[in-house]
C-alpha cells in the first residue's frame, strides 16, 4: 500500500509491528493501541521513533499524556463510510496541539484526501496506487472552504471580509 507524505509517494520509515512480534532495539515502529498502552515506557524509552495505531472507537483522551513523545499517530478508517477518525484528528491537532505525523489508514481513497487534510492528516496509507499517484492533483480540487479548521485555510466568510476591507480601503 503506497504511503503519501509531504504530498508525494514515499517509503514508509515505520515498521508495522504485530502485537506478538519481538520489539527491535532500534528503528521506527508502529504498534497497536493495545500493545502501546500495556507498557508505554518500554516503547518510548528505546532509541527508535514510536507511532501508535489508534482505533476510532476509543477516546483519544487516553493517548493525550503521551502525545509529545510520539512520532506518529495512525487513525483508522475501517471503511471510508466511517468518519469517526475525522473528529479524532481534529481533536488531536486543534485541542491537544499534536504536531507529529498524523496518518490516515484503512480504506483511504482519493475522494477523502481534501477532508482528511483539512482535519489535520499529513500522511496517507492509500488503498489504490492510482489514487496515491493522483494525490497532488486531487488536493488542488478545491480553492474555497466554508469551515474554519486547524489547517489554517482562510474560510469563505473571512475571505469576503478581507475583500470588503481592501475594497473600502481603496486598494
Amino acid at each position: 500500500m503506497p504511503l503519501v507524505k509531504g504530498g508525494k509517494i514515499t517509503d514508509d520509515s515505520f515498521v508495522h509491528l504485530a502485537d506478538d512480534a519481538v520489539l527491535p532495539e532500534s528503528g521506527a515502529v508502529l504498534v497497536s493501541a493495545a500493545r502501546f498502552l500495556q507498557d508505554p515506557e518500554a516503547l518510548l524509552g528505546r532509541a527508535g521513533k514510536v507511532g501508535v495505531i489508534w482505533p476510532n472507537s476509543r477516546d483519544v483522551d487516553d493517548l493525550v499524556p503521551h502525545l509529545d513523545r510520539l512520532a506518529a499517530v495512525a487513525l483508522v478508517f475501517p471503511t471510508f463510510r466511517d468518519g469517526r477518525a475525522y473528529s479524532q484528528a481534529r481533536l488531536l491537532r486543534e485541542r491537544f496541539s499534536y504536531r507529529g505525523e498524523l496518518r490516515a489508514t484503512g480504506q483511504v481513497l482519493r475522494d477523502q484526501f481534501v477532508f482528511m487534510m483539512r482535519a489535520g492528516f499529513d500522511a496517507f496509507e492509500v488503498r489504490k496506487q492510482g489514487d496515491a499517484e493522483a494525490f497532488a492533483q486531487t488536493v488542488k480540487r478545491y480553492s474555497v472552504f466554508y469551515q474554519p479548521t486547524g489547517d489554517g485555510r482562510l474560510t469563505a466568510l473571512h475571505r469576503r471580509m478581507q475583500l470588503r476591507h481592501s475594497e473600502s480601503a481603496g486598494l
Binding site: 477516546d59 468518519g83 475525522y86 473528529s87 481534529r90 480540487r141 469551515q147 479548521t149 466568510l157 469576503r160
Partner: protein, 551 residues
C-alpha cells in the same frame, strides 16, 4: 433571495468538476459500485427501481425565476419533462442517465444550484419556513441563519461521513411551518430579554422506523454561538452515534439511549472547550450574509384594492382565494400558495412547461421569487393583492389553480413503489384515488383543514406519523397493506399519530379514509373544530369503532 458571490460560485463549480471525475472513474471501472455509491449519494444520486434518481437542493425552499427555468430545462433535456418537489423543499428527477449527470449539474451550477449532500450520511438541505421573510409576526428572516448553516455544513471536513443522514430545520415564527420538531436539529429563532437573536435548539426529532419528537437541548443559544454549539452536537454524534445498525444510527437513537440530560451534558462539555474558537460569528460576518439577501421594494398599496373587491363576486375565484391566499407582512400584498395536488395527479409533481410558465408568472407578479414548502406545494411570496385575479387566471391556464390548499386532497406522499427501491407499497395511486374521492370542493371545504400523509415504507419520507391522517404502506405475504394512524401533526404542537386498527388492503384504503372522515363529521363539536382537534378531544376509540364496526 440570497445572491451567490464569486466564492460560492467557485465552490459549486469545483464540486461539479470533482463529480465529473468521479462519474468518469465509475464508467471506466476504476471505482467499484460500492465505492461510487457513497460518492454519488453525496451528490444526490440514488439508484431507483427503473433508473437513477437525481435530487437537487433548494436551500430553505427559496428559488429565483431563473433558477426555476433552469430546473425546467433539466427536466426537459435530461429527464422526461417533469420534476417532483419533496417534503424537504428539494426537487427530484426520476429518469436521469449517469453519463449525462455532470452536464446537468453544470447547467444548474450556472444559476447557483447544486445537489451537494441531498442524500448520503451527511448534513442535508437546511430547510425553513416557506413564508420566511414575509410572514406577519416573524421575529426576523430565518434564512440568513439557514444560509450560514448551509455554508457551514457544505463539504464539512469532519462531518461528511456521519453515522446517518442529518437534517436541520429552522423557523422564526410562532406557528411552525418548517416542522422543526421532527428534525435531527430543530432551531426556533427568538430573542432574549436583551433583544439579542438566538435559538431554542431541539435535537433528536425524526420519523422513520422509530419516530421521536425533538427535545429541547438548550432554550437559548446566542446567534454568535450557533455554529460552535451545532459543531459540539455533531461532534458528539459523530463519535458516539451507533454505526452497527442502520436503523439505530440517527441521532434520535443516541439521544434516546443516553437520555436528553446526559446527551446535553456531553454537548455542553464539548462546547465549553471550543465556544470561543474560530466558529464564533461576529456581527460583521452575519451582516455580510444578510446584505446579500435581496428584498423587493414594496409599493404603498391599499388593503382592499378594487380589483379584488370586483373579483370577489366570482365564486370560483373566491374558492381559490380562500384556500390559497395568506396574509403578508406588508399591507396590500399577499402570499399565494400554489397547489401541486391536482385531482388525480401525483402530489408534488410539476411539468417543465408548468415550471417555465410559473417562472414567467413569478417575474410578473412576485418579484421573480418562488418558494417550495414541505407540504410539496409552491408559493409566490410577494403578490400585490390587486394582481390576485389576474394571477389566478394565469395559474388556472397552466393547471395550477386547484383550490385545495390545506384541505383533504392536499396530500403529502413519497414516490412509493412506483419509483423507489426501498418502498413496500405504492403511495401515489392511493393519493390519486383520494383526490378523486374528495374532488368535490364543497365537501372538502366542509371537512376543513385535514392533512393526509402517505409513506410507502417505514422510512417515512411521506411523514405519515405526523399527518392528521397517516397512511403507511407495508408488505404482508407479497401483498400491499396499509396501516392508518390519526391525530398526528407536524407544527409547534407536533405529535405522532395513533394507530387506528389492523392494516387494510390497497383497495380498502380510500373507503376507510372516507369512513374516518364521516366519523369526524358526526363527532365534531362544532363545524370549526378541526379533525385533529376532535381526535385530541375524543381519542382514537370512537373512530376505531366506526371504521371497524363493519369490517
Amino acid at each position: 433571495m440570497y445572491a451567490y458571490d464569486e466564492i460560492d460560485r467557485t465552490l459549486v463549480n469545483e464540486r461539479v468538476s470533482e463529480f465529473r471525475d468521479q462519474v468518469k472513474r465509475r464508467l471506466s471501472g476504476e471505482l467499484t459500485e460500492d465505492e461510487f455509491k457513497m460518492l454519488r449519494l453525496q451528490n444526490g444520486v440514488y439508484l431507483q427501481l427503473h433508473a437513477y434518481m437525481f435530487r437537487v437542493a433548494i436551500p430553505y425552499g427559496t428559488l429565483s425565476s431563473n433558477q426555476l427555468r433552469r430546473l425546467a430545462h433539466v427536466a426537459r433535456k435530461y429527464d422526461r419533462g417533469y420534476g417532483h418537489f419533496t417534503t424537504r423543499q428539494n426537487i427530484q428527477f426520476n429518469w436521469i442517465k449517469l453519463a449525462e449527470l455532470p452536464d446537468a449539474l453544470a447547467d444548474l451550477a450556472d444559476v447557483g444550484i447544486h445537489a451537494m449532500q441531498t442524500s448520503g450520511n451527511n448534513t442535508r438541505n437546511v430547510t425553513s419556513d416557506q413564508w420566511a421573510g414575509v410572514a406577519p409576526g416573524e421575529v426576523e428572516d430565518p434564512r440568513i441563519w439557514a444560509e450560514i448553516l448551509r455554508q457551514y455544513t457544505t463539504l464539512h471536513p469532519e462531518f461528511s461521513f456521519l453515522p446517518r443522514k442529518f437534517k436541520f430545520a429552522i423557523t422564526a415564527s410562532p406557528h411552525d411551518r418548517a416542522a422543526i420538531k421532527i428534525h435531527d436539529i430543530g432551531l426556533r429563532l427568538h430573542k432574549n430579554s436583551a433583544g439579542e437573536t438566538g435559538f431554542e435548539i431541539l435535537v433528536g426529532g425524526g420519523l422513520g422506523r422509530t419516530p421521536f419528537i425533538g427535545k429541547t437541548i438548550k432554550p437559548f443559544v446566542h446567534g454568535r454561538d450557533l455554529l460552535s454549539y451545532v459543531e459540539a452536537i455533531m461532534r458528539v454524534y459523530n463519535q458516539y452515534g451507533r454505526r452497527d445498525n442502520i436503523y439505530k444510527a440517527r441521532i434520535k437513537i443516541l439521544v434516546h439511549e443516553l437520555g436528553i440530560e446526559k446527551f446535553a451534558a456531553e454537548v455542553e462539555e464539548e462546547w465549553q472547550q471550543m465556544r470561543d474558537g474560530a466558529l464564533k460569528l461576529d456581527d460583521e460576518v452575519v451582516e455580510d450574509i444578510r446584505a446579500r439577501f435581496f428584498y423587493p421594494k414594496y409599493e404603498k398599496l391599499p388593503h382592499m384594492p378594487d380589483e379584488l373587491r370586483k373579483a370577489a363576486q366570482d365564486p370560483q375565484f373566491e374558492a381559490w382565494r380562500r384556500n390559497s391566499v395568506f396574509t403578508h407582512k406588508v399591507q396590500g400584498y399577499a402570499i399565494v400558495t400554489i397547489s401541486l395536488k391536482p385531482v388525480g395527479g401525483p402530489p408534488g409533481d410539476a411539468t417543465a412547461d408548468q415550471m417555465d410558465a410559473l417562472a414567467e408568472i413569478a417575474d410578473k407578479y412576485s418579484f421573480g421569487e418562488i418558494r417550495v414548502g414541505h407540504e410539496q406545494n409552491l408559493a409566490l411570496p410577494h403578490v400585490a393583492k390587486r394582481d390576485l385575479p389576474a394571477l389566478w387566471k394565469a395559474l388556472d391556464r397552466i393547471g395550477l389553480a386547484t383550490p385545495n390548499v390545506n384541505l383533504i386532497s392536499d396530500i403529502i406522499a413519497c414516490p412509493g413503489l412506483d419509483y423507489c427501491s426501498l418502498a413496500n407499497a405504492r403511495s401515489i395511486p392511493i393519493a390519486q384515488e383520494l383526490t378523486r374521492r374528495f374532488a368535490n370542493h364543497d365537501t372538502a371545504n366542509l371537512i376543513g383543514r385535514l392533512h393526509i400523509n402517505i409513506s410507502g415504507c417505514i422510512n417515512a419520507c411521506g411523514h405519515h406519523h405526523v399527518g392528521h391522517i397517516g397512511i403507511l404502506g407495508v408488505e404482508k405475504n407479497g401483498e400491499e397493506f396499509y396501516q392508518i394512524t390519526i391525530g398526528g401533526r407536524a407544527d409547534e404542537n407536533a405529535e405522532l399519530g395513533t394507530l387506528i386498527g389492523p392494516s387494510v388492503k390497497f383497495e380498502e384504503v380510500a373507503d376507510v379514509i372516507e369512513d374516518i372522515v364521516e366519523a369526524y363529521l358526526a363527532l365534531r363539536a362544532r363545524p370549526d373544530e378541526l379533525f385533529v382537534d376532535t381526535v385530541k378531544r375524543l381519542g382514537v376509540e370512537p373512530f376505531r369503532e366506526r371504521v371497524y364496526a363493519t369490517r
